[in-house]
């Protein structure tokens, strides 16, 4: 016992260092000066609302938002645009010919070496719906909902490896450390549902995205805004259950005791991370009840299971898509779905455009179409923004890893041009923005950057991306850094 008290005294004295003294002394002198310089500023403008310390309290964005929730479907590994949405007849004619040197000069590829051959589309295209969008026969169900979405066809990124490109796609920077899109949204909006996190991540395809948890990380934002990764198989959230034989009321008492201590610590040091920790304990306690309920899809009626193609108890993209709809209904602001296995280089059966890629399409086509239809019939699509995409595109050339022709058909990573789509949440129906050249190698008009996509998403959530900032390391940070234009052409 004496040891503990001594250690406490030591820790306490460590805090009273010269540096801390100077820092607090400087601050209080400044505050004293300010108080005299600005009389009245502090007295007359007493806020009427009670001060709210809960970092997850719901908040308003800058202006009336069109989208209340976001479902971001990320096909990790980057699906090929040439087998899904980009119909390029000229590329099909060039199939098997040597790639012209003008396309290779000054370019670096992840795996292509020497002179690769051009590769025509491995799928058949047709124009569908009133919008006349080109959709391939890989996505038969999507054809029925193609009129609901707006395509961004001229997107580019500056990263050609999965992890940095995924981090770029979700944080706006290829270098780790920035907050993810969902964290920004939760930081700005809080969580309307007190019993569920504001930002939920669901993964499928047998592996997490290459970039790891950075793609739903909080970066420099308080950690309470990071995505909560839920599993669709077994316990939805790990380490949430009470230890065996511990009744819930004792659990509650212990959490209250911990939070009381944390509240004292906060009063002493005012570190926002302490508040975040208190909120997380309380959230975890409430989630013990609410999460298993909302994550249970077995109570859904049979026709819903038929619509999505779900099988309760399995880890699948279909189950996650259905869960995403349930979470939106419960007021969760940001749901990220990652599906792994889209990296079709053509070096294995799984990564072959004519084999594994088709399997991935079949696993996800119906659930994606079902999700849009289900949100639509429940009146939720017009305030739920759904985004579908990968982290970059694929080359119009066939991959020749190490200069050798592969036995399967595949394409290399291609950051210069790729296609994503958005739907719902105030996005136009059946619009298209951006155009690539006749072999889909480069953007020829209406080029957009990842910052433009972020600016557009924030705009739909009610934020002016130029004013939505967080102060860190002495300067305000934005998700879009110093770039980004809202893509108005796809906004309804």
């Amino acid at each position: 016992m004496k040891k503990i008290i001594n250690e406490y005294k030591l820790k306490k004295s460590e805090l009273n260092t010269r540096r801390l003294f100077l820092k607090t002394a400087g601050l209080s002198m400044g505050a004293l000066a300010l108080n005299t310089i600005l009389p009245g500023c502090t007295q007359n403008t007493v806020s009427k609302a009670p001060i709210d310390l809960n970092p997850l309290s719901p908040r308003s964005p800058h202006f009336a938002a069109k989208a209340k929730s976001v479902i971001y479907i990320h096909m990790a590994g980057a699906p090929s645009q040439f087998e899904l949405f980009e119909n390029k007849p000229v590329l099909n004619q060039l199939n098997g010919q040597d790639c012209p040197p003008s396309l290779l000069e000054g370019k670096r590829f992840a795996f292509i070496r020497g002179v690769p051959k051009m590769l025509g589309s491995q799928a058949q295209f047709e124009q569908v719906g009133e919008s006349g969008a080109w959709v391939s026969d890989r996505l038969p169900h999507f054809k029925q909902v193609a009129d609901e979405v707006s395509f961004i066809r001229g997107l580019h990124t500056d990263q050609f490896n999965h992890a940095p490109a995924q981090i770029m796609m979700h944080t706006g920077s290829a270098i780790i450390g920035r907050p993810s899109l969902g964290s920004w949204a939760t930081y700005g909006l809080g969580s309307v549902n007190q019993n569920l996190p504001g930002f939920v991540v669901l993964t499928s395809g047998g592996a997490n995205p290459d970039a790891g948890k950075q793609v739903w990380g909080n970066g420099f934002l308080p950690s309470v805004y990071q995505g909560v990764h839920c599993r669709s198989n077994g316990d939805p959230v790990l380490f949430l259950n009470d230890p065996e034989e511990m009744p819930r009321n004792i659990r509650k008492k212990s959490i209250d005791a911990i939070n009381d201590v944390n509240a004292l610590t906060y009063e002493e040091f005012n570190d926002p991370e302490t508040v975040a920790r208190i909120a997380q304990y309380e959230m975890a306690y409430r989630m013990q009840m609410s999460v298993p309920e909302v994550m249970d899809i077995s109570t859904e009626p049979e026709y819903i299971h038929e619509l999505y193609g779900t099988q309760p108890g399995k880890e699948s993209f279909a189950n996650n898509a259905l869960l995403a709809r349930k979470l939106v209904e419960k007021g969760v602001r940001f749901i990220q779905l990652f599906d792994w296995g889209w990296d079709s280089h053509g070096v294995s059966r799984m990564g072959a455009l004519e084999l594994g890629f088709i399997n991935k399409c079949r696993e996800t086509d119906k659930p994606v179409a079902a999700l849009l239809l289900d949100l639509k019939q429940r009146g939720l699509l017009d305030e739920t923004l759904v985004i579908w995409g990968g982290e970059f595109g694929r080359t119009p050339m066939q991959e020749n890893r190490n200069g050798v022709k592969q036995i399967y058909k595949g394409r290399d990573h291609h950051p210069s041009a790729f296609t994503i789509w958005m739907a719902g949440g105030g996005i136009k129906k059946g619009a298209s923005y951006g155009e690539t050249d006749e072999i889909g190698y480069d953007v020829v008009s209406e080029k957009s950057s990842i910052h433009d996509v972020h600016a557009t998403i924030l705009n739909q959530l009610g934020f002016d991306h130029e004013k939505f900032t967080f102060d860190f390391q002495g300067r305000p940070f934005r998700l879009t850094d110093v770039e980004g234009h809202v893509i108005k052409k796809i906004i309804a």
């Binding site: 009427k48 609302a49 009670p50 719901p58 908040r59 308003s60 964005p61 800058h62 202006f63 009336a64 938002a65 069109k66 038969p140 169900h141 029925q144 309307v192 549902n193 007190q194 019993n195 026709y303 038929e306 619509l307 193609g309 209904e329 419960k330 007021g331 004519e354 084999l355 594994g356 088709i358 399997n359 079949r362 086509d365 119906k366 179409a369 079902a370 239809l373 289900d374 639509k376 019939q377 429940r378 009146g379 017009d382 105030g426 705009n459 009610g462 002016d464 234009h485 809202v486 108005k488 906004i491």
Partner: protein
């Protein structure tokens, strides 16, 4: 190097200002007995003041040469600066000669000269009228207003082009700021061309070229932070320039005016309802004005776990969500009744006793979206919703609503969509055009869905 020296003007000019104004103060406080400043100190200060004033002149002259100013603009500042430097030098000479007694009066003259020079210099960088904020606001955002009764008879420059240029260009290329040595506020100035020397008003001239550069290009005009030209505005300008950019013609005297009249008419109509394309604020709130809701009532609802949020920062309208609440209580109904006109979105999804809402719903004059999905609506008078004139969205999915109740809404003027998925409703629209969504979408199972390759 020369360029660098020129830019040092901005730094150096503050030295004579500070030094020479300080010496005035010293000269006069020196008269107080308790304060003693030795004469040698005055000599040093006057010397440094004069030297720095001369340096400011030299660097200033270099700066004007390498910068975007015309000699007419900088003329006054140029001479004022030289006068100041001369005066400062004369005062220094007084201090070292026998005229030290007149020094303190001379210092006043120097100070006055410095202020004049400083003001003229400030006007160059910040624009004329900077000290009058009212004028500046006018200069920065001159509203786009066309005073045109009959487009055909309108004076092309005076009525059409000039207001457009005033709105889009003149805040930077006008009397207050002359960026790139270009003024666009009068016909004479427009014919002078800018710093680049390229023709401004020819078919392939600088004006159209700059506007048509991509937004991301540095030379694009107007700058990407300013509001851009609409399609009609650009067409009009191009047409005017391609046909000789006349300053004294009527619209109907210019070739192809038949084609352009609808374009200009549209442009003039649009200017009457300005679109703030920079902020892109979704206009999805009622246009009526309401008073702010009582904060005490909002706080009471919040304590009850009801989510109450303004519809955007500083909006008096409220979005209310009962997501954390199982059952609607009478107390909550009382509170909602007191802020009824402020509510634009009300979400009661999956909340028991939602029927109670119908006792107060007719007061919600600004309600636009109402969610009653998965609620236990019982014996309600659906017709009461006809009094919520702004309602566009009504979600009744998962309730026991039938066609008869929906028909009561067929005289509602605003209502666009009713969601009636998982109900007994069978109709797909009402007589007033309101769409009734029943959903029940299916995706047929394809053989390929389950086959693995």
């Amino acid at each position: 190097m020369v360029d660098f020296l020129g830019r040092m003007h901005i730094l150096i000019l503050h030295l004579p200002i500070g030094i020479l104004l300080m010496v005035v103060i010293l000269e006069w406080v020196h008269l107080i007995k308790e304060i003693k400043v030795p004469d040698s100190v005055f000599k040093v200060i006057y010397f440094v003041g004069a030297i720095s004033a001369i340096f400011a002149c030299i660097t200033g002259n270099i700066l004007a040469g390498g910068y975007d100013y015309t000699s007419a603009e900088t003329n006054d500042h140029f001479w004022a600066g030289i006068v100041t430097a001369l005066l400062a030098s004369v005062t220094f000479l007084m201090s070292v000669s026998g005229l030290a007694n007149f020094r303190k009066y001379a210092s006043l003259v120097v100070a006055a000269s410095i202020m004049v020079t400083g003001h003229l210099g400030g006007s160059l960088t910040h624009g004329e009228g900077f000290l009058n904020p009212g004028l500046i606001a006018y200069a920065d955002e001159k509203p786009l207003e066309f005073e045109v009764q009959n487009v055909e008879q309108a004076d092309i420059y005076h009525d059409i082009v000039s207001p457009l240029l005033d709105n889009k260009c003149v805040s930077c290329h006008g009397p207050n700021k002359i960026k790139g040595k270009l003024r666009m506020d009068t016909p004479e100035h427009l014919q002078e061309n800018g710093k680049s020397g390229n023709e401004l008003l020819t078919a392939d001239g600088e004006l159209i070229r700059r506007i048509e550069l991509p937004m991301s290009h540095d030379k694009h005009m107007p700058p990407d932070t300013k509001s851009q030209l609409t399609e009609q505005q650009l067409k009009t300008l191009k047409w005017w320039i391609e046909n000789g950019s006349a300053f004294d013609m009527k619209v109907n005297q210019i070739p192809d005016h038949e084609k352009m009249i609808p374009v200009m008419t549209k442009m003039i109509e649009e200017s009457a309802q300005p679109v703030d394309d920079r902020k892109n604020i979704p206009a999805n709130l009622p246009e009526t004005e309401v008073a702010e809701a009582d904060v005490e009532i909002i706080n009471q609802l919040k304590r009850d776990k009801v989510v109450v949020l303004p519809a955007g920062e500083d909006s008096p309208f409220l979005e209310i969500d009962f997501v954390n609440i199982d059952s609607l209580t009478d107390d909550q109904i009382d509170l909602l009744a007191q802020i009824a006109p402020n509510i634009v979105h009300l979400k009661l999804s999956d909340t028991r006793n939602a029927s109670k809402l119908f006792t107060i719903v007719e007061n919600m004059s600004n309600l636009m979206k109402l969610y009653l999905d998965d609620t236990d609506l019982r014996s309600i008078d659906m017709g009461l919703l006809n009094k919520t004139g702004q309602l566009v969205y009504l979600n009744l999915s998962g309730t026991n609503i039938g066609d008869a109740q929906l028909q009561e809404l067929q005289s509602h003027k605003q209502l666009e969509r009713i969601y009636a998925y998982d109900t007994q409703a069978t109709i797909d629209s009402l007589a007033n055009g309101t769409i009734v969504f029943s959903g029940n979408f299916t995706l047929s199972m394809l053989p390929s869905d389950t086959i693995r390759l």
